[in-house]
Amino acid sequence: MKILVCISKTPDTTAKIAFTDNNTKFDTSGVQWIINPYDEWYALVRAIELKEKDASTIVHLVTVGGADAEPIIRKALALGGDEAFRVNADSHDSFYIASQIASIAKEGAYDLVFTGKETIDYNGSSIGGMVAELLDFPYISLASKFELNGTKATITREIEGGEETAEVDLPVVVSAAKGMAEQRIPNMRGIMAARTKPLKVSEPVAVEALTSVTSFGLPPAKAGVKLVPADNVDELVRLLHEEAKAL
């Protein structure tokens, strides 16, 4: 069993969101970077759990990013995984990134490709589906459970107001949501081991981006809260009904 886990670097959840260059670039000054939580907590940890169950399982990680993504991929390796790939390219276009991942995935002949359900910066939710199409694999998105039985996977995904469980023969691409696994903290042994795990850097394959960011902006600030005394809920209801027209 060979598993490829896609790892993305994102700003910390408390990072100040601001833009530079006439609102065309994200302002990275002072920003702490983390592994995209969905990639780390759910996709990566589930892959590691599968390896813990079956020691012959190989877990590889892939990231598409510049050299500044290396601390993130080392941190991911500290949680588990045998080796990592970094495709040396910086892009915000999902198709460009997915094409790089698909190229690595094709070469490695993986049975399973895991991604997080989305990144917390661009919120695209697109990489998994695109990789699946480029590989001609089935795709299950927003998976909350993943069980393996030989070469058959049983996967539960979120649907509106419920869940749907399906069986699919490997290979498959899965995007991982909450429920798949529980967050882990890397231990000292893992951190030491990660330092010497192979991290292979390759140059990107030539692909045309399909989209480009023209500008960023911040939503308008709220006008300020209207406080209603706790003993006058009728007033709140009146405001919601007549003023906000929300009831």
């Binding site: 909350s144 509106e160 749907e164 209207k226 906000a244 929300a246």
Partner: protein, 319 residues
Amino acid sequence: MSVLIFVDIAEGQVKKVSLEALSYGAKLAEQLGTSAEGVVLGTPKEDLAALGKYGVSKIHHVSNPALDHLDAQLYTKVIAEVAGSTGATVIVFPNNMDGKSIAPRLSARLKAGLISGAVALPDTSNGFIVKKNVFSGKAFANISITTPVKIIALNPNAYPVRTGEGTATVAAFEAKVDSPRVKVISSTKASGEVPLTEAEVVVSAGRGLKGPENWGMVEELAKVLHAATACSRPVADAHWRPHNEHVGQTGIAIAPNLYIAIGISGAIQHLAGVNRSKVIVVINKDPEAPFFKAADYGIVGDAFDVVPKLTEAIRKIKA
């Protein structure tokens, strides 16, 4: 040239997010001076001609039992075929669970640029630029699609359903349908409840409620409001509530018309997933709770005292 809208159905019923996508697609077609058409896969139990009232002139229906459950690979192939034969230049999806499965595949298949999570109609005055949320709602980006065919996945509750007059012609579309590789073996749906991602009103509660046994009053309030229930992350992590109620930066992002937050402090990661709500009401006993800064209306008070009274007051005006 035309706009093609994917109409997502569940158990034969057209989802609300599909009506939003139809309304959006119809408006976009008007803006581009072209026609809007819909595509339905599987076995609908509704009269498809009636979808004309959302502004589409034609519905392409691909009927095949293999399409009764989502297999994103099959769906993508079929939709690509319909898009090709109708000459669609823009394809609109709802950015719901199914849309997130299919739209990226179709984008890769057709080499058509995709904007997922669009919140407004494209600006077509100079190119094709779509606004979407980024950084989990803390910011937005304007993104230009540079390919001849374009795909937009529209966020739920971002565009109003518009109803007019009109019926659509319904045409059976014969597509080659392979046998599915994804075999659905079971599905559970909490019946009668409003799905969180589609809800217009959401009642959400946090650690301030002290324990799962106190959620009765939250559910009561949700019931009178015909609302979905949600919660903060620690509440889901402690298994007080199911994980699919967890909203925020690492849970589900929502944008209802009304969001009522009870006993939630308003941490930045929580706000990220809910600050697109049109009206935010906060009930918290701590006047310094950060959530008040992001709220439209607030009550500083004890939830155990305020919430039952609020439920009563709403029941009165709904009666």
